[in-house]
Amino acid sequence: MIWAGVLVASVACYGLKLAGLSLPQSWLQDPRIQRTVPLIPVALLAALVAIQTFSTGQHLVLDVRAASLAVAIIAVVLRAPFLVVVIAGAATAALLRLL
């Protein structure tokens, strides 16, 4: 069941890319589409950050991950590269759990 979902999502993600390369340019040039589509990843990524920091399953939780997020925010404000941000976040949680 999980693999069916993964497969369908993979095919659909590929289909979107191929459609972008193949569809007539005018189709996707509607200003509302041009404006709206870039907002979707912004909203979803922000929601994912919040959910994965402040919840376990369906429960809201405040734990060391909040401190990790604070450190990761500092890292992105300083324009740290992707891996540095991820490692800073993980290391913060690991260190705080050691204390």
Binding site: G5, L16, L44, R97
Partner: protein
Amino acid sequence: MFTGASQFALVGVVGAGGSVWTGAVAAVLLGSRNALYGLRLASLLNVAGVRRVAAAQFVIDETTAMAIAREDPDQSRFAFWATGATLFILWNLGTLTGALAAHAIPNPKVFGLDAAPPAAFLALLAPRLRAREPLAIAIAAAAAAIVLLPFVPAGVPLLLIALLVTLFGVMRRR
């Protein structure tokens, strides 16, 4: 699935106990931007047939950024294929390593691995927040996610937020 944010989102939803189909929809919504990248790249790459089928898989944030940053079309095409091939190989090797090594780590929390995904999402998000409007949308979406989370199954907040931001984008006048 070669589009990182979608891959992470699907794993995140399933990991939180959500339905794989909810995760799949979230992944596809996150991948929608690649269609616009494809549109942007179509005239630049000028590919047809088998080459287009191969090029499509490489249409992601990084290859688009590398390709459109070049003035010369030949350099653009080279940047696209070189970035795409390199990332495709390394990314999938990374995924494979993760899949195999996961069993070797008894408690991922000890290494703070549960704090890594939010940091990764934040790092993917940050370059998109250079203007005021996306920043406001990001904050609103994060707040909405927290509010919705206890009341709906895992992953569903993502779908509701995608719906809300789409309505906002379409209805807004400017």
